[in-house]
């Protein structure tokens, strides 16, 4: 009699729980983007979560881990059709497999399966503080956030500057007052004793070579001109917007090295190229003043994550040495409480308070519009 009572109670709770799970799944499917989350398993690393979504009608696959502090995004298309992915845990740099039997790494390369060697197209995307996305892409859609903001089309002016000149401000130190690095020294992971596991790095993989560019170096230099194998690249990082973006040095047949102009547009880094002295906007990804005004920048994939995660994924990685030729205390963050407080040092054209100003988010840019993905969706 007593057992029968517990049996009924168990069934009631079971059906209530099942109903709740079904309801929450249905609600999730109703969110913008008609997205699907796939959580598979967890291990000693952070849980990798996948999101299948569409941006401007283009199918995309995002993979990320809040604990490991990375989000990567690719166009979900191989040989003309979309794939259905499933996360793979604890196998970095491998992060997912598809329904055709391929396994994919964090750079979007098929490392095994029938399409081995193929690469997914990297979406034009990067990480950064929310306020910068709000001001560079007004009205940006936030994944699974029903709140909207007014879309404002991007400004293209025809004068000396492509952007409103009164929004271009002096950051303080002057042109080259913040010294960009060129072909810095590198260390292997054992030699890099100045790095801590939780330090953030911008990782790049070219062929079989992996390199890491630490925030703690970039906070002081903002630009690193480098050559990996036969590829000339520029690592651009703005400490004020938290954005790290990989630029190709070869743009339309011109090979450029870049320096820090000392100017800011919407509180964001304005690099200049030393060949034509043209000024570029890091986040807009175009030239805003000079003979190359209006040219778009070609980007390549940078992966922002922790040093711990990066060296686990790429044990043979090399990392920029603290012996940069400049006397700096790289263990000290130069901007006080800036990473966490709500302050923005320089005026911005649009303020969007849907998220905390300094929340680090991943944005995908397509047709001058952005869709934002938060780490809370990757936990």
């Amino acid at each position: 009699m007593q057992n029968n009572k517990y049996f009924k109670l168990f069934f009631i709770l079971f059906f209530m729980g099942s109903g709740l799970v079904f309801w929450s799944c249905t609600k999730a499917d109703e969110q913008p983007g008609n997205s699907l989350q796939t959580n598979v398993s967890t291990g000693e690393n952070g849980l990798i979560v996948l999101i299948h979504d569409k941006v401007e009608g283009i199918p995309v696959i995002l993979a990320g881990s809040e604990e490991d502090h990375f989000i990567v995004s690719f166009r979900n298309e191989l040989e003309g059709s979309s794939l259905k992915f499933e996360a793979i845990q604890d196998s970095l740099p491998i992060i997912m497999k598809d329904d055709k039997g391929n396994s994919w790494d964090i750079t979007g390369t098929a490392v095994s399966g029938p399409s081995k060697g193929e690469k997914l197209i990297f979406m034009r995307s990067y990480m950064g503080y929310w306020f910068s996305w709000g001001t560079f892409f007004p009205g940006a859609k936030i994944y699974k956030n029903p709140e909207t903001a007014k879309f404002q089309p991007r400004v293209y002016l025809s004068g000396e500057w492509l952007v409103p000149q009164n929004q271009v401000l002096s950051g303080g130190p002057g042109k080259d007052g913040i010294p960009a690095l060129k072909n810095p020294e590198f260390l292997n992971r054992i030699e890099a004793s100045y790095m801590n596991d939780e330090d953030l790095v911008l990782g790049v993989v070219v062929g079989s070579e992996a390199r890491a560019y630490p925030h703690k170096i970039l906070d002081w230099h903002e630009i690193i001109n480098d050559k990996v194998q036969d590829r000339s690249i520029v690592i651009t990082y703005c400490p004020l917007t938290g954005t790290g973006i990989g630029w190709n040095q070869d743009q339309k047949g011109i090979t450029s090295t870049f320096g820090v102009s000392g100017l800011l547009y919407n509180s964001n880094l304005v690099p200049y190229d030393r060949e034509t002295d043209s000024y570029w906007s890091q986040m807009r990804l175009d030239c805003i003043k000079g003979s190359r005004k209006g040219e778009k920048i070609e980007t390549f994939q940078l992966i922002e994550t922790t040093w711990k995660t990066w060296k686990k994924a790429y044990p043979n990685t090399r990392v920029v040495s603290s012996n940069t030729g400049y006397s700096r205390n790289y263990s000290r963050y130069p901007y006080g409480n800036y990473k966490t407080d709500a302050s923005v040092y320089f005026p911005i054209s649009t303020k969007d308070s849907r998220l905390h100003a300094k929340e680090v988010v991943h944005g995908i840019i397509l047709n001058d519009k952005a869709v934002i993905y938060r780490f809370e969706h990757f936990q």
Partner: protein
């Protein structure tokens, strides 16, 4: 003798230590000038002692401040990418209205030059010139006893200098390169002067000056910015010698200077504020009762800066002083010239 004088003074004005303590506490609680110590050195000019009754003192000073030392905290880094040279010309008038009260007005013209030397920019410079902010002070001689006196100073800094100067490309210059700050600031302080210190020609000076700053608008009102407050404590001695027909006044001053970090809205602006201690030898040549010239230098002996900043490598001043009597009273021989 000196200690006795202090004791007598303290007995006469029992509330003075309390006043002094309250002021220190108040100053310590308020939140320094923009990054680096390269702004217009207005605070340096405030510590001049009051004029005697019906005497007008006119001082002209050229101040050169060369900054080529890069510090993180108190560590000097081997770094010389950015250097600055700020030149300021001050004109200051001090007039004694009564036995106790005098007024002090200060105007300046400033020229900043910032040079970046790197592998890619062989010494490109940014230059800014213009009139700086003005200062209007009242100085009250609180007590004079036994060749010693205590005076109080209070006044305002008036934002007469431009704070929206743009470069040749039409870009607004950084705040620390602007001739003015754009803010109305309050100044208060106190000084103690003891003549016949140790020997008849020697004098001792102790001055406390604080500048409490207010917010100013930047970027067409899009941002409220507040320079950190200044707190200065100066201790100095001067002596007097006759050299032929000229009076020679060598002096040595120790200047303790502390500024709190700047603020943007309610947030502290990084890499601003710090503590400096300077040793400043000076010399004054008095040709007649009316005319003297002076020169001084400031050598930083201790610097502890908030974050990483460019700081003073060497500083020097040259100037003249005219003492004009508007009555039949004889002039006092000028002694310590704070700068």
């Amino acid at each position: 003798m000196f200690i006795n004088t202090i004791n007598i003074l303290l007995r006469k004005i029992k509330w003075f230590p309390a006043f002094f303590m309250v002021w220190i506490v108040q100053t310590g609680n308020v939140h320094g000038q923009a990054c680096c110590s390269g702004g217009v050195p207005i605070s340096n000019m405030i510590g001049v002692r009051p004029a005697e009754i019906h005497h007008l003192t006119i001082r002209g000073t050229y101040d050169g401040n060369y900054l080529n030392s890069f510090f993180t905290g108190s560590d000097k880094l081997n770094e010389n990418i950015v250097s600055r040279y700020s030149q300021t010309v001050f004109i200051q008038g001090i007039y004694g209205i009564t036995e106790r009260l005098s007024i002090n007005a200060l105007m300046n013209w400033v020229h900043h030059k910032r040079t970046v030397t790197s592998a890619y920019s062989d010494g490109s410079s940014t230059k800014v010139s213009g009139f700086g902010d003005a200062i209007l002070l009242g100085q009250y001689k609180l007590i004079k006893f036994n060749e010693a006196s205590i005076y109080l100073t209070g006044g305002i800094k008036i934002p007469t200098g431009k704070s929206d100067v743009k470069d040749e490309n039409g870009i607004l210059m950084a705040a620390d390169l602007q001739p003015g700050t754009g803010s109305w600031d309050m100044i208060a302080g106190a000084g103690f002067v003891k003549s016949h210190f140790i020997r008849p020609g020697m004098s001792f000076t102790s001055t406390f000056i604080s500048k409490l700053n207010t917010y100013s608008e930047r970027y067409n009102g899009q941002q409220n910015y507040k320079y950190g407050n200044d707190f200065q404590f100066l201790l100095g001695i001067t002596d007097s010698f006759f050299m032929k027909s000229m009076l020679l006044n060598p002096g040595l001053l120790v200047r303790f200077w502390h500024t709190t970090p700047d603020k943007i809205e309610d947030s502290l602006f990084p890499n601003t504020g710090g503590t400096w201690i300077y040793l400043a030898p000076s010399v004054n040549f008095q040709f007649t009762d009316m005319i003297s010239i002076f020169g001084s230098t400031e050598i930083p002996v201790y610097q502890k800066l908030t974050g990483s900043q460019l700081s003073t490598t060497i500083r020097f001043a040259l100037g003249f002083q005219l003492n004009i009597s508007t009555s039949k009273n004889k002039l006092l021989i000028p002694e310590m010239k704070d700068f």
